[in-house]
Amino acid sequence: MRWLLLKDLQILRRSPLLVALLLAYGGLVGALLGFAVQRDDVKPKVAFLNEVPSSAVGIKIGSQQIDASKYANRLFESVDPIRVKTRAEAIDTVRRGDAIAALIIPPDLTRRLQSVISLAGTGAPPTVEVLYNEENPLKTQAVESRIKARLADANKAISQKLTQISAGYLGILLHGGEFSLLGQKFSVLGLQRTRDVVQQTLRRLPNDAPQRADLERVANFAQLAIDNLDLSKPVLASIGEPLHVKRTVVAGKHVSANAFYIALAASVTLMIIGLFLGGGMLALEREEHAFGRLVRGPVSRWELLVEKVLLGAIAALAATLVELVVISLFDDLRWGRIAGWMAALLIGGLAFGAVGTAFGALTRDVRATTLLAILVALPFAFLALIPSGVVAGWVYDIVRIVSAIFPFKPALQALNAGLNDADPGLARPLAHLAILAVAYTAIARAGLRRFA
C-alpha cells in the first residue's frame, strides 16, 4: 500500500498546478476568512464629518451645560474615523473604498437635541446620517450593525446624563439646597423641610385653631410628595435602560461567531479536498487503465480503497492545516487544543476521503466524481447549518437524519469542539465520523465490483 501511496504523491508532485491549487485553496479560504472575521480590536475605517459649529456643541439642561461632542465620541469606539471636511469628500471617500461608510453629524444636531430635551418643539428628531457603500451587502450589514450599536450606546449615555440631572433636581425638591438659574443662586427649602416646618407650626397651634385644617392638608401633601418622589429616582433610572438582559446558556457552550466561522471554514476545506482527492485519485486508476492490472494480484481492492481514503485524508489535513495557520495570522487560534482539532482533522479527513472513494467508485470518472462531489457536498453543508427552531419540528428531525448520513455536520461539530471546546465535545462526533468512514469505504468496495 505504501508504494501506491508514494506513487499517488509522486503523481501529485508531477501536477504542480493541482497541488498549488489545493494548498492555495486552504490558504486563500483562510486569508479570506481572516479578513472577514479579524480581531475585534481591528476597527473598520469610517469617514466622519462633523458639521456642528464648535460654538454650538453644548446642550443646556436646566442650569447645566453638557458637551454633545463627548457623546458623539461613543460612535467612534468601534470604528477608525477618517476626518473629512465636506459632505462631497465623505461620499467620495466611501465610493473610493477608503472607508466602508461615512457618518455625518448635521449642523443642527445639538439644536434639535436641545429641542427634544426641553420638550419645546415638535420638529424633526435629532438625526445623524450614515452613508454606505452597498457593493457588499455583508460588509454594509456589519458596519450598519456596529454603528447602530454605538448609536444606541450614545443615546443611552445621553439618557443617563439627563436622568442624572433630573434626579439632582428631584433631590433639591425633596431635601432642599442651592439652585442656580440665570447666574443667580437660590436657596430651595425642599419638601422634607417644608413638612417639618409645617409640623412644628401645627404643634404650636391650639387644637381649635382655624388654620390647623389647612396646615394639616399641606403637611399631608408634603408627606405624600416625599414618599412618591423618593420612588421617582429608580423610575427615572429605569427610563434610560428599561429592559435588562440576563443571558443563561441552557444547551451548548458559548462560542463566538468568529470562532464558529473558523471551524466552519476548516470543515468546508476538509470536505472539498477529501472528496476531490479520495474520489479523483481512485477514478484516475480506472482512467489510466491500471485498476485491472493492480487488483488482479499485486493489490487487493480493499488495500486500494484504504490507500485512497488515506490519501484524501492526508491531503485534506494538509490543506486545512495551511488554512488554519493562515487564519491564525488574523485571529487567535487555540494552539493549546491542537491535539483535539488535529484529531478532528484526521478523522474528518478519513470520513471525507471515504465518501470521495465511494463517489469515485460509483462514477468511475474523475470529472464526474468532482461534479458529484460539488453537487452533493454543498446541500449537505447548508443542511448542517440549519439551526433548530427556524423550521417545523418534524422538518428539523428530517434535517438531522439527513445530515447524519454525511460527514459534514459531525466534522463541523468535531472541529468546533476541537478548536473552541464547544458542545457536544469531541468523542461523539469523532465516533460518528469513524462510523461514516467505515460505511462509505464499504459502499466504495461495493462500487468497485463494476469498476474495471
Binding site: 508504494w3 501506491l4 506513487k7 509522486q10 503523481i11 508531477r14 501536477s15 489510466e288 487503465h289 491500471a290 485491472g292 492490472r293 493492480l294 487488483v295 488482479r296 494480484g297 499485486p298 493489490v299 474495471a452
Partner: protein, 229 residues
C-alpha cells in the same frame, strides 16, 4: 497452460460457453473472432481479472503476465518509475534488477527518465508489455496489443513478442487483425458468441473451408458464415 471448460455468464447472457484449449511453452496462440465473441473475457479469466462461473485454468494469475489493450501505466510517471512501481507491487526479489532487465529488453533505456505521457503509442505499449513481464511469467496474455499502433510500430512490437516466444514464453494474444494472426501465430482459436469454434493452425482453418479462399481473412469469414455467424 491448460484451460478447461471455462464458462462465464453476465446475468442472462452467456459470454463464454465451455471453452477449453492448451498452449505449449514458447507457443504463440491467437484468439480471433467478431466483436462480442468473448475474446477479452477469455483472456481476463485466464489472467485472473475475472472469475469463471465454471471451468479451470492450470496456471494461477501470478504465473501469467497480463497486458491489457490500453496501456495500463501511469502517464505522469517516467518509464523507470512505472517499472519500479509494478516491480515492487509484484514483489520481485530485486526490483531494480527487474527494471534494468526490462529497460534492456524493451530498448527503452534512453527513455527511462521520460514521462509516459510524452512517449509514442508504440513505446507506451512496449512499457505496457514490459510491466506484464516484470515478474518473468511463463505465460503472457496480450489483449489486442497492436490495435493502436501504426505499421512500423506494429512491426517492431511483433519482433519483440516473437523474441519472447523464442525465449520460451507462451504468448496468447487476441486480435481483430486476422492477417496478423496468420503471420505470427502458431495456432488460432476462433471464438464466436462465447463458443470456441476452431482451434488449429492457420493452414488448418483454410483447409476447413475448402482451401480455395483468396486469403486467410476470406477463409476466416467463410468459416464464420458456414458456422452461422
Amino acid at each position: 497452460m491448460n484451460v478447461r471448460g471455462v464458462t462465464k455468464r453476465f446475468g442472462d447472457r452467456v459470454a463464454l460457453r465451455d471453452v477449453s484449449f492448451e498452449a505449449a511453452d514458447g507457443e504463440l496462440v491467437a484468439v480471433i473472432g467478431p466483436n462480442g465473441a468473448g475474446k477479452t473475457t477469455l483472456l481476463s479469466i485466464v489472467g485472473g481479472l475475472l472469475r469463471a462461473d465454471a471451468g479451470e485454468v492450470s496456471r494461477p494469475p501470478r504465473e501469467v503476465g497480463w497486458v491489457p489493450q490500453q496501456a495500463a501505466v501511469y502517464s505522469k510517471l517516467s518509464v523507470a518509475e512505472n517499472l519500479r512501481l509494478f516491480a515492487r507491487l509484484e514483489k520481485c526479489a530485486d526490483p531494480e534488477a527487474a527494471v534494468d532487465r526490462m529497460l534492456e529488453q524493451t530498448g527503452l533505456r534512453d527513455r527511462a527518465g521520460d514521462e509516459l505521457g510524452t512517449l509514442s503509442g508504440g513505446n507506451r505499449q512496449r512499457v505496457n508489455i514490459a510491466v506484464g513481464l516484470l515478474a518473468d511469467p511463463p505465460v503472457l496474455l496480450l489483449d489486442e496489443p497492436s490495435s493502436a499502433l501504426d505499421p512500423r510500430q506494429r512491426e517492431r512490437l511483433w519482433e519483440f513478442i516473437l523474441g519472447l516466444a523464442s525465449g520460451g514464453t507462451t504468448v496468447v494474444f487476441s486480435t481483430h487483425d486476422v492477417g496478423e494472426a496468420e503471420r505470427h501465430a502458431d495456432r488460432v482459436l476462433v471464438l464466436a458468441d462465447g463458443e470456441l469454434l476452431f482451434a488449429g493452425t492457420p493452414d488448418e482453418l483454410e483447409a476447413e473451408v475448402g482451401g480455395d479462399a483468396r486469403d486467410f481473412e476470406a477463409a476466416f469469414v467463410r468459416f464464420l458464415h458456414a458456422r452461422g455467424h
